[in-house]
């Protein structure tokens, strides 16, 4: 798959077989318990490349590992295995200082505009933190840079000395974006940046993110469970199910003609506004526990097309169209 996916230029971010298994054993059980049985496989073998200036949308149900993926890429969570290369540098080989230096180039915008701003710090302190860590300079210079960045996100110097509780959700999210952008990062993980906001505010924040991307040449990993949002912002889309990417392709074709049965079900679940009869195809059952993912294809217990082979062997990703990869046995015959 990599050969077909490889873009002309070197990717800004390259993720290979990334895994994060949370060890749920407590205390002495860590010595005695079965590591395999108590490992929560939040991210289990994810690979993709991200070109500079591109937006990759990641969609999936809650609990599928979307957020863990974003945090593991940024090394906010230590991965269990796999490799993340940022601009050619393997993050796993970096020491503390090296990682700190790279942090200014990759940032994150969080979902919850309430929990993500420290209630006891002023806007100036929150937004200026990155500068005071990476480019220590006099308070006046930091303040000038903070005012500049606040201007970019639609806030002003009048807000400097205020505390987060004096702002609305949308304004708080703007502060969170300013905090991430003050260091001029190249890559930003947007972890459900609008899902906690009112619909009217969502559009404003999405427009702001798009505008900033154009102005600053940003590359986004855009995590969301909202298909409309992902369709709006993404160049390419990855569909996650139980810690794995089941389909990855150009956002236009993937969202119009999803290939993987799970992606089809996910898209069919969106209520349609054009009055067309909802061809809703209900999935039976719940998402299986990531503690004990099903053998073979992880989706087979709920898949309407499940075959014998699906219960036995995990599907290998196949390229079904240029840049469009699916991990499903239905496409293993000769489609590729």
């Amino acid at each position: 798959m990599t050969a077909a996916l490889a873009p002309a230029e070197a990717p800004l971010l390259s993720v290979r077989d990334l895994r994060k298994h949370f060890d749920l054993r407590r205390g002495l059980r860590r010595l005695t318990g079965d590591a395999q049985r108590h490992a929560l496989r939040a991210v289990d073998g994810v690979s993709f490349d991200l070109r500079r200036g591109e937006t990759l949308g990641v969609i999936g149900e809650s609990g599928c590992g979307k957020s863990t993926l974003g945090r593991t890429i940024l090394r906010l969570i230590e991965p269990t295995g796999g490799e993340v290369r940022f601009d050619g540098v393997d993050l796993g080989t970096l020491d503390k200082a090296g990682l700190k230096a790279l942090r200014r180039r990759m940032q994150i915008v969080f979902q919850d505009p309430y929990a993500s701003l420290n209630p006891r710090r002023t806007v100036e302190q929150i937004v200026g933190l990155g500068l005071s860590i990476h480019e220590p300079r006099p308070a006046a210079a930091i303040r000038a840079a903070v005012v500049d960045t606040l201007g970019r996100v639609g806030l002003s110097s009048a807000h400097l000395q205020r505390y987060p509780n004096q702002f609305s959700g949308g304004q708080r999210q703007r502060i969170g974006i300013a905090r991430a952008l003050i260091l001029n990062p190249e890559f930003v993980v947007c972890d459900e940046p609008v899902s906690a906001l009112d619909v009217s505010i969502q559009a404003q924040i999405l427009a702001l993110l798009e505008q900033l991307k154009r102005e600053l040449g940003l590359t986004y990993l855009f995590i969301s469970h909202d298909l409309a949002v992902v369709a709006h912002v993404s160049d390419r889309v990855a569909v996650m199910y139980l810690g794995q990417i089941v389909e990855l392709g150009p956002s236009r074709s993937l969202l119009r003609e999803p290939a993987h049965p799970y992606a089809q079900a996910l898209l069919a679940a969106v209520p349609r506004i054009d009055g067309a009869p909802a061809a809703r195809q209900r999935l039976a059952g719940d998402v299986p526990s990531p503690l004990a993912p099903p053998a073979g294809c992880r989706f087979h217990p709920r898949c309407p097309h499940a075959m014998a082979v699906c219960r036995q062997a995990p599907p290998t990703p196949r390229t079904i169209a240029p840049g469009h990869v699916v991990a499903c046995h239905l496409y293993e015959g000769g489609a590729a």
Partner: protein
């Protein structure tokens, strides 16, 4: 603008909390009483009508001024050595206030740092700190303090040390628990994503958020610390004579309780009033700073 900022809200959480506190009359009154005790301790030499150390054997067990045989120069009477009780009570507030404040501040600082380290760094640090805390908690407070005082010998510094050795445990537990919750907040993750050091995260991001419970529990504990000092002095292990301490004054008057009740009673009343005032004030603080605990 998206939903105009809630302009009416106070600038900071701290300011809002202090406003809440100021509206609580009982707590405010109690705070004034504690402040009066503090002033009394600070200005003892100017307030005390007599020299607290001067004994006049002709005034041995002289009753308070309003009783037969009393005189207004010695308003609360005299003790068994003929020393003015009011003056000694005023000077005694210095010992109580000093020990209460010193032990509280040292214990809160040590406990907060240990709790932050244990709660944020987890791992070996947490195991070591938490085990020490558990061990100290298993000792009865007074017995431990008596043992330490018996080993180290009396003296103001030793009392502070003996009490701090156990007293830091409570702020430590509170701060550790609050830190465990705070370290999972996204603002801590955001600071880590920006490359902030553990030190910055503990002291600048988490500490301000655990300060309220720390202040509340520390002021509560100050009352206990004052009782502990009085207990040690009562047992003769604390401040040594002739320095006046409320605890030792109560002990001195014990044998004359029937004939000269005022010798023990008045310092006892002072302990009661100060401890009660501290408790009421800290209860008000708790209500203002931690609405979750409000009944």
């Amino acid at each position: 603008m998206e939903g105009a900022a809630r302009a009416a809200r106070a600038d900071s959480i701290l300011a809002a909390n202090l406003q809440d506190f100021a509206r609580n009359r009982v707590a405010l009154g109690a705070t004034v009483v504690v402040a009066l005790f503090a002033l009394m301790a600070a200005f003892a030499p100017w307030i005390a009508p007599q020299d607290p150390y001067a004994s006049d054997l002709f005034r041995r067990l002289q009753p308070p001024a309003w009783m037969e045989g009393g005189e207004w120069a010695y308003p609360l009477g005299c003790d068994a050595l003929g020393r003015d009780i009011l003056s000694r009570v005023i000077y005694g507030s210095r010992v109580s206030m000093f020990i209460g404040v010193a032990v509280m501040l040292i214990a809160a600082t040590v406990g907060a740092l240990a709790g932050l380290a244990a709660g944020y760094l987890r791992g070996a640090t947490d195991v070591v700190v938490s085990r020490i805390v558990d061990i100290l908690l298993s000792f009865p407070y007074l017995i431990l303090a008596i043992g330490l005082m018996a080993t180290m010998g009396p003296g103001l510094g030793n009392i502070v040390l003996a009490l701090v050795i156990k007293e830091w445990v409570l702020p430590c537990r509170i701060v550790r628990a609050e830190t465990l919750a705070a370290r999972e907040m996204e603002y801590v993750e955001a600071a880590r994503a920006l490359g902030a050091s553990s030190r910055h995260i503990m002291l600048r991001e988490i500490l301000p958020n655990v300060l309220s419970p720390l202040i509340v529990v520390s002021t509560f504990r100050m009352a206990t610390i004052i009782i502990m000092e009085a207990s040690l002095s009562f047992l003769g292990l604390g401040v040594q004579p002739p320095v006046p301490s409320w605890g030792s004054m109560v002990a001195d008057g014990r044998q004359f309780l029937i004939g000269a009740w005022w010798v023990s009673t008045l310092p006892g009343v002072m302990i009661l009033v100060l401890v009660l005032a501290i408790n009421l004030a800290s209860q008000g603080l708790r209500d203002a700073f931690d609405p979750r605990l409000r009944r």
